[in-house]
């Protein structure tokens, strides 16, 4: 025990010495932590994560503190170099966090995200409008949505708020988290609570910040109709031909659902059919149409709908806007991550 403690202390001291002299160096002699960051920045993800896994958390803390000190250096070049390393560290710890989450290790996920977050907080204090600082929380939320880790997304979302004003995209992500949580609670009996009023508030704010953000309008309409608010149909009805086809498709699908619930099956059928005609390869409107027809006794028509949709060949798995909608902002994840990766390249 004593030997282990001594060894740890030894590593710590060595780390401290090395950090002071090495982390700010561009290349060449390096610490394992700096090496891991550098590997990740160069796209060697797996070796980078393996390297990080070998480093003790206490050493990471020591090196992180040193990096942050260098960030505050009056030497502009040194400070910029540290900022680049920190951006790489943020992504490295984020990757480690999601690998841990995938293994069901929530504690490790939190530790790694908090480490990344501590870096981001310092970067934000230098420049709160930097693209990296703005994009990182969006990427984390989008990845959490992709994994349907809604409870974690809710917790992370609270941390991600910007006291001086959230971006429209962050508001959209926060609202989508609430919407997903509500849905999972109500439909899958999952142990997570979502509040449609909070979702509505976030979407309204997003819409104010960015009036052209159609997704905010669509989601606002959706949560309103889920709450049986008549304004919902009006909002959905505003999503017309100016919007991209997937948004129009979803608006008609959601309208059809409301009309079906009201018992106006003829009009519901028209909306579903409109959605089908807009995107014939999408399955959700076909399924909605088939289900409604089956319920009113038109079994042959329902079976035909199923055959038409399920029997279609060479349709990509992800051709349905509903699939993306139901995953919150997951459809934006790849774009966010790619953008962040571009920003950390050496």
């Amino acid at each position: 025990m004593r030997a282990a403690a001594t060894a740890t202390l030894g590593v710590l001291v060595i780390g401290l010495v090395l950090c002071r002299t090495v982390l700010a160096l561009p290349q060449g002699a390096t610490t394992p932590y700096a090496e891991a960051i550098d590997l990740f920045r160069r796209g060697a993800d797996e070796p980078a994560l393996n390297e990080l896994a070998r480093i003790m958390n206490v050493d990471v803390t020591v090196e992180r503190n040193e990096l942050l000190k260098t960030l505050d250096s009056k030497n502009r070049e040194e400070s910029e170099r540290a900022a680049g390393t920190i951006r790489g560290a943020v992504m490295l710890h984020t990757a480690r966090a999601f690998a841990a989450l995938a293994r069901g290790n929530g504690g490790e996920f939190r530790y790694q995200v908090l480490t990344a977050e501590a870096y981001v907080t310092r970067l934000r204090s230098r420049d709160r409008r930097s693209a990296f600082v703005q994009t990182w929380p969006l990427a984390v939320l989008a990845l959490l949505h992709e994994g349907r880790e809604v409870r974690v997304a809710k917790e992370f979302g609270e941390h991600a708020r910007d006291p001086s004003g959230d971006s429209a995209e962050l508001l959209l992500a926060l609202g989508a988290t609430e919407e997903m949580a509500w849905w999972m609670d109500h439909e899958d009996d999952a142990d997570v609570k979502g509040d449609l009023r909070n979702a509505e508030r976030h979407f309204r704010q997003a819409f104010i910040v960015a009036p052209t953000l159609i997704e905010a309008r669509l989601r606002l309409g959706r949560v309103l109709v889920l709450r049986d608010d008549p304004e919902g149909m009006k909002v959905l009805g505003q999503i017309g031909s100016f919007a991209e086809m997937p948004f129009q498709y979803l608006a008609r699908l959601f309208e059809g659902e409301v009309l079906e619930k009201r018992g106006d099956t003829a009009e519901a059928e028209r909306r579903y059919a409109t959605a089908v005609s807009m995107m014939p390869t999408a399955q959700s409107a076909y399924v909605a149409l088939a289900h409604m027809r089956h319920a009113r006794g038109a079994r042959a028509e329902a079976a035909n709908d199923v055959r038409s949709s399920a029997g279609a060949r060479n349709v990509p798995d992800t051709a349905d806007p509903w699939f993306w909608y139901s995953r919150g902002t997951a459809w934006r994840a790849a774009g966010y991550v790619e953008e962040l990766r571009r920003m950390i390249r050496p």
Binding site: D45, A99, G147, R148, S284, V287, V306, G311
Partner: protein
Amino acid sequence: MTRLLAACAVALGIVITGPSMRAQRFRSGTIGVRVDVLVTRGQELVRGLSATDFELRDEGVLQKVSEIEVEQIPLNLILAFDTSGSMAGARLHSLVQAAQSLLDRLRPDDRVALVSFATRVRLLAPLTPSRQQIQGALATLSAQGATSLRDAAFSALALRDADPGRTLVLVFSDGADTASWLRPSAVIETAKRTDAVVYAVAMAEQRAVYQLGGRGITGVKVTTVEEAGKFLEHLTEETGGRVMFANSNKDLHATFAETLAEFRDRYVLSYTPTGVSTTGWHRLEVKLKGKSGKVTARRGYFAE
């Protein structure tokens, strides 16, 4: 009554006289309701029962069971298989092998359909007597994507032909729904409107994979199938079927075989409804008279 009977014909796969085997069971022009029941005592199936051993009530009104059959009616087997990403590898291989073994146990006049579901529901083969067609479709299965369990269950139920054969929908899934449009209650409502019996085989765990930017940062997450289990239990109970849990890939073969054997050993009770309303939901109760045993049957049917 005419409306009721006509509705039953749609909702319950009613048997109308014709030049086939079903004509032998009904007098000319007669329409009846058919109820598929399983009788067990402990873990054992109870065999050798006759019509007089059953007490059947439709909306609380005692009905006369006019016919009882076991095994004689051709089977429509609709396979709805989960092919989401978590099925990749040995699990999918085991599933295909178990399905092939199941095909070998079918009779010549049985028909089979194959539906796969991941992010999308795919009809790979419609109801067909051709084992070769199903084998070919099984060979095309690959695992990728999310899980549209509820949409697939609905599709399988909706595909059921207006056919005199008994329909067994066999749903296999290893995880919770992550992609369906339909809500659980919507699929349960559909189940009430068909005469199919749904059996489900669920794996005791699922695997989910995370990726960060598609560059090989992946992880494996193990969670329970609890969420899917709730829906499947509700669905199967509604139709008089049940959920079977397989603990490992190796169990699949035996579990599928057990499912088919159990379905074969069920009794099909037929009766002509009397003294009941002409529309709406009809609650069914089936009991044994003077014998011990547990009767599992669908909870009711819709007359429209």
